[in-house]
């Protein structure tokens, strides 16, 4: 199989997966016990009795299931995701996009910090295998990895927002500075201030995932013959690590980082919930509590597609970086 066939095949698979996600999304929400026509109807003292039936007709819920399915597929693809049950004036698409931008800001920053710090720790631990630094960083890493994110967030919030009120306890922007646009320097500082504790919480949660994989991958690479060659030709350890070992050990990182990122697009919900950070995770939890199905359906779709696309992109990067795949 040459590279072009490989890429075509991977893309086709990703496409099928997205279609299947849409099918699952349709089926699951049809299996809900609640009747959407009833949920969509607000009742007042003067509403006509047949309002539920009118709504059923209006939203196409009286059509046969296959027609509804076709309608759903088309609407999902062109972004007609309907209205939120909770905030009826809000289009789901706008709502989700607005929250998504906050989450991306938080997750993007966190991912960059995590990658740099995590790789540094992993490289050093692999280089010093079995030494105190390795044992300590692995042990401490697993410890922090094991703390439930919400619990760690609560403790951080307690210490740095209540006991020593250095940072704000929650939200994305001080209410006095709203709205966000037009952006001023003061607002940027305030947004960063609000982001600090949530991003520390997320970083601690993901750091060990990155550093442990980096350590494992580099340990593998360090046993390869070309490392012995590099040593034999007189390179210092530092040169050997930077030029020969680290680039090769980075390959597994590509998929890991992509996957981490994509999953968090689906919602850093624990962190956002604890710090009431106004992103897509908080929206998810709120939508769950109020059974806001159109919003949940949209998040389900976006979250799934994000993972599929991230995997696809990661694979393409690996095909590009790793010449062995082109040969085989």
């Amino acid at each position: 199989m040459n590279l072009r066939q490989l890429i075509l095949r991977r893309s086709l698979n990703a496409f099928i997966t997205i279609l299947l996600i849409m099918v699952v999304n349709f089926i699951l929400f049809r299996m809900m016990p609640a009747d959407p026509a009833v949920l969509l109807t607000q009742r007042g003292p003067h509403t006509p009795d047949d309002i539920v039936e009118q709504n059923r007709k209006y939203f196409g819920l009286d059509k046969p299931l296959y027609e509804q399915f076709a309608l759903y597929m088309v609407n999902t693809l062109i972004g007609r995701w309907g209205y939120s049950y909770d905030e009826r004036s809000h289009l789901v698409l706008n709502l989700v996009m607005e929250k998504l931008s906050w989450t991306l800001l938080l997750v993007g920053t966190t991912t960059i910090i995590t990658i740099f710090v995590g790789i540094a720790i992993g490289v050093w631990a692999a280089y010093k295998r079995g030494k105190p630094f390795d044992v300590a960083s692995t042990g401490i890493g697993i410890f922090f990895y094991s703390i439930p994110t919400f619990f760690f967030g609560i403790i951080l919030g307690l210490v740095f927002a209540r006991w020593y009120p250095i940072f704000p306890a929650g939200g994305v922007l001080d209410i006095r500075l709203a709205p966000v646009w037009p952006l001023t320097f003061e607002k940027i500082i305030d947004i960063l201030d609000h982001m600090f504790l949530p991003s520390i919480t997320l970083t601690i949660g993901y750091l060990a995932g990155i550093s442990l994989v980096m350590r494992g991958s580099l340990t593998d690479v360090l046993t390869e013959d070309y490392i012995t060659t590099a040593r034999a030709k007189g390179l210092t350890d530092r040169q050997m690590l930077r030029r020969h070992a680290r680039p090769n050990a980075m390959l597994p990182m590509v998929s890991l980082v992509a996957l981490n990122f994509a999953f968090v697009v689906g919602g850093a919900y624990q962190t956002e919930y604890v710090f009431s950070y106004d992103g897509i995770g908080l929206l998810t939890v709120k939508a769950v509590f109020s059974s806001d199905f159109p919003v949940l359906q949209a998040i389900f779709f976006i979250g799934g597609v994000a993972v599929v696309l991230a995997n696809l992109i990661a694979d393409f990067i690996i095909y590009y970086l790793d010449p062995r795949i082109k040969v085989s």
Partner: protein, 323 residues
Amino acid sequence: MGRDSSRKTHASPGAREGAWAVRREQLRFLKQRLVTTARMFLKNRMGVAGLIILVFFLQLAVFAPLWAPYNPDPILRPTGDPDEDRLGGRLAPPNATFLFGTDNQRRDVLSRVIFGSRISLAVGFAASAVSMGLGTLIGLVAGFWGGWRDELIMRITDVFLSLPFLVFAIIVAAILGQINLWQIVIVIGITFWAGTARLVRSQVLSLKERQFVERSKALGSGDLHLVARHIFPNVVPIIFAEAILTIALAILTESTLSFLGLGPQDQLTWGRLLEDAFNFQALESDNPWFMFMPGLCLVTVIVGFTFTGYALDDVLNPKLRKR
């Protein structure tokens, strides 16, 4: 059993005895392997630490009624004596009678944490078992029989690996109605099986090409025999370590769902305790231990499973064990 390859290699008048000899030899080999594995595991300090934690919490869960000083459920009623009441009052700080104080409903926190370990651990084990069973079975089918089954299964695992887990669990919970203990086990189980299926499949694919499988096939072994006697036993070490790690993941997931108020409402789990404490802002009350204790236990148990899992993986699947 008629197609047993070991018997065919000893096709002499003493065939039956030969088969027994082979079986005995296999058992001896298995025992030896277990002993070496145990020895190597005991040399791994991380693994031993994890195992000690696990043994402690497992016996705590099993013998909860012996350890817990009080009944976790009934509300400790005021007695009328002001000293007694302060002792066992609402949100009492830790004291000699109630080692970790009391919660917002005058219940003993220590006893609640001890009893909470039972269901948290049980859910972890059960959910891991469901996910491993499903994943192994599906992975074996995909890897061994391949073809269109493999394609189909891979597409399905793709979907399961891509879905945002929380939303999925919530929707399933909503479809099921009020979630109970079994349902949360199933929800967690069907969320994590896909990863295991992938792992097993890739292992089976490489095993299939190995010589001992070819040899057995040449001797006339059927598919089921091959899978049961040659493929599956070689998959076990990999899924064993994975199972331990999945227990940690399942416990974490259950507590997260419970914390968000999506767990079984009538069950006492650590996640439930944390949710109660969070809702009553326990950390700012007189007795922050109400929140710290379940959290600390949760972290310790998950560390225990993770340490044990990593150490087992190191011992059972040795590919990195060289300088």
